[in-house]
């Protein structure tokens, strides 16, 4: 009997040892690698690949929240006893809200209906040798350089400032000297991102064919060409200044206008009143194009804008314009080679006067940000 009992004990031990291998389901917690990012920006603790994640997306030049940016997140799984193979992925797509914030749920909270390939459930059940190996996040909005949680755009080096919670994403405005080929590689893929970046593929192809060299150097190497900091429209006015000038008590979503992407020569900023019609919007367009071209651009505005009256109350020359529903103010700073056009819906600006005062503020900001040098080498007073 004692021999039988002894055998039974050994058998039980053997079965326990065998069944508690990672290959056996149900014995272990879902496995995940250590996250290569922090739990919060102010912490030294590693975050958790499983999530949840949250953060805020702002415009790097103005620090204004960027709403409507697409946030694409992927959890990547691997498996294999012997030789590792990818075991699947789970993806979530969301957008930043009006305050630029995003939130992504934890993998533990993913409902079965959203688990397209069943990989999340398999991982939660510790089925097979499945392991959560990576989490990546991409933020994209047209007019800006995309953001990846794992790499920087500037040098493709590892990003060290991504955090699981309270993550800060400062989107840099797109510049004409950036490489579309590099940017497309950086953005990566996914159906949502691919459709949003489809417009860049032709630019990228032309670039690789050497057809775009006439517009200056591109960042196609591993290093950014050092260059002078550009002035952009987002720097000229703040939300507070607009609210103070107009008395508006709502909030604005901000970002580039959807007319053209920002370049060295042109940038825009759209203050879009949340939950209000277009008549509550204000837009700033800035051309930084040099002395001669700025005169021509101003002349074109003078010719093309409706209801124009030249007032010369801002900068070297300025005009007021009016159309049904909108006011406009434009000014020229010939020395800096800059033209600015401000447009304001009549529900936001009840007369043209607030817009004129905003134009003056913008001009003052322009002078502060870009001290002009006269031809004798002295600076502007």
């Amino acid at each position: 009997v004692s021999e039988v009992r002894q055998k039974s004990v050994w058998c039980a031990l053997a079965i326990m040892a065998a069944s508690c291998t990672p290959m056996a389901a149900g014995c272990t917690a879902p496995r995940a690698r250590v996250a290569p990012f922090r739990v919060r920006p102010d912490s030294v603790q590693p975050g958790a690949l499983v999530g949840p994640f949250d953060g805020k997306v702002v415009d790097a030049s103005s620090n204004d929240p960027v709403s409507g940016a697409i946030v694409y997140a992927t959890w990547i799984f691997g498996s294999g006893y012997g030789l590792t193979v990818p075991a699947g992925f789970h993806e979530e797509v969301t957008n930043t809200d009006t305050t630029g914030r995003y939130q992504l749920r934890s993998l533990y909270d993913v409902p079965e209906s959203a688990d397209k390939h069943g990989v999340v459930q398999a991982w939660r059940d510790s089925r097979g040798s499945i392991r959560l190996t990576e989490f990546r996040l991409v933020v994209y909005k047209r007019g800006y350089v995309a953001y990846r949680s794992d790499r920087r755009f500037s040098d493709f080096g590892p990003r060290l400032d991504f955090a699981q919670a309270q993550n800060q994403v400062a989107l840099e405005r797109w510049r004409s000297d950036f490489s579309h080929a590099r940017h497309l590689r950086y953005v990566g893929g996914g159906a949502a991102l691919a459709s949003l970046t489809a417009w860049e593929t032709n630019e990228a192809a032309a670039e690789l064919s050497g057809k775009r060299s006439e517009i200056g150097p591109r960042i196609a190497t591993d290093l950014i060409t050092p260059r002078r900091q550009s002035l952009v429209a987002a720097q000229l006015l703040t939300q507070k200044e607009i609210k103070d000038a107009t008395g508006f008590d709502g909030t604005f979503e901000t970002g580039p206008l959807n007319d053209e992407p920002d370049t060295d020569a042109y940038s825009s900023q759209h203050f879009q009143a949340v939950g209000q019609p277009q008549a509550f919007d204000l837009a700033v367009r800035l051309w930084t194009i040099g002395q001669g071209p700025s005169q021509k651009r101003y002349a074109r505005l003078f010719e093309d804008l409706p209801g124009v009256q030249e007032k010369n109350e801002i900068g070297d020359r300025s005009l007021r314009a009016e159309e049904h529903g909108f006011y406009g103010v434009a000014f020229l700073d010939a020395r800096r080679g800059v033209v600015v056009l401000l447009t304001c819906g009549k529900s936001l600006c009840d007369s043209i006067d607030p817009l004129v005062s905003l134009g003056k503020m913008a001009y003052q900001r322009l002078r502060e940000l870009s001290p002009a040098t006269d031809r004798s080498g002295g600076t502007e007073p």
């Binding site: 590792t84 053209e260 370049t263 080679g337």
Partner: protein, 523 residues
Amino acid sequence: MKARIIALALAASTVAVSARPAAAWEPATSAGIAEQAALASSLHKILISRFGLPGGLFAPLVVPPADAPELFVVLHQFLSPIDGFVPDGRGRLTALGWLVAGAVVADTPRSFAANHFFDPKTGKGLSERTLTGLTGKLRTWLIGVTVRESLIDSGVAAPDWIYNAHNSMSLAGFRDQYVKAVRARTEAARQRHLAGTLVAAGAILHVLADMGSPSHVRDDIAAHFDRIGRDASDVGSRFERVAALAYGRLGVPAPRRMRQRAQPRAYFSDADHQGLADVTSSRWFSAHTLPESFVKPRSRNPSDLKRAVVEHLTRPEPGPSLVVLPTEGKLTDESGVCLANFTEDGKHYRFWIGDDCALEQLAVILPQTASYAAGLLETLFAPTIAIEVEGGEVALRGTGAEFGSGRLTLFWDDDASIRTAYHDEQVLADAAHKLARSVPAPPGEAIRVSALFEGKDAAGAALVVAGSLSLREEVKEEKAEAPAKVAPEPLKKKKKSPVFPSLPSVGKPGDKASKEDSEEDDD
């Protein structure tokens, strides 16, 4: 009986701790090497000129998922689209994406990964030589169980694997798809097979790129059982994990130059010892082929230490070029790149490869690997048949390869890009091996003429080469400049301007208005 049960329990426990070695560069690194190879090669221009894709590497190619169900199971169920190498639901992906997809799926099924090893000293593939002791033997057994076959026995040497009949993404698979990408009647079918060509090319690049990882060319499977995670079952190659973390897909450095060899096999190993496997094997240690630990010699003079290290090498190289830096505890090569760390462990010197040391090595290895990969891509795609239409004849001349005998077929495309063969002949090698000849011109309505050579090169190796010429340059140019035909631009539709709908167009640099705006300022 008791002993058998204990052995079973021990085996089961060992299974638990010996899990999942990654057996190749991680997917991100493989993808990065393939991307850099593509960008450094002339593939972009070849896709435009020979295959009529205005977008080149960024041209979308569609493979209906029903046409390649097994491939799409891997691509859609297992690989995340976030890195740009997974087609969308309709099977649409850029040419570059297809190439990278091939580089990533080459380890699938997992038993294929065993064929990505090659020891140039023995000419053999994977073996269990470094899996010693009971744990090692159990791991060998475990791998066999996992892949349902004897891994060691199935480990075809990497240079042979790209020629192996069981490898669907071999050179033969590449040539098969390439031929179809030229021969197919419709543009859609040609693009579908071009995607297949690129997938096969990517998979071949992957096998070559693995020759840049020292454990793959020093017969060191044990290096793939190092612990790389916080739990004991997370094992793999620490060296390759460091590469993935430090460089990922995007950070893989561009090659400084393209290394070109005559034949695909020569990129792996050759009589001149300049194949990637030759170079990697002789220059670097791997985690389990380091010098054996030895008793500290009395003299700590670097030359005495070097002699002692060389005496305890487990393989003959790297030997003569070693530099020993006792104060830093490092072995370096003559250019100062770390080869291994060492430390005093009681009375012995013990060797290992620290993460900092691995990073120094990777900074050299990755661009070098990409340079070989770029060269191989060039060898696969660059040979062409130059076509000139002169009067009623088409003059052909092969370039980039030594043409032997084979079959030459000429095609013409009509306005709808329907391709028709109109001339077919068996050709014999000419003295110059240049395929120089004249053939009849295509019909007058042809907008493109293409030539395809299927045969052997001067050395008797299989050779498939194509060339193409657009006969209506204005059409070509128009296509190249008409982005909407290639990729719809929903976001480029001008939204109604938020204010002043009549506002003049802003214009981009390069537009007429913007050129006017962008005149140089003398300020």
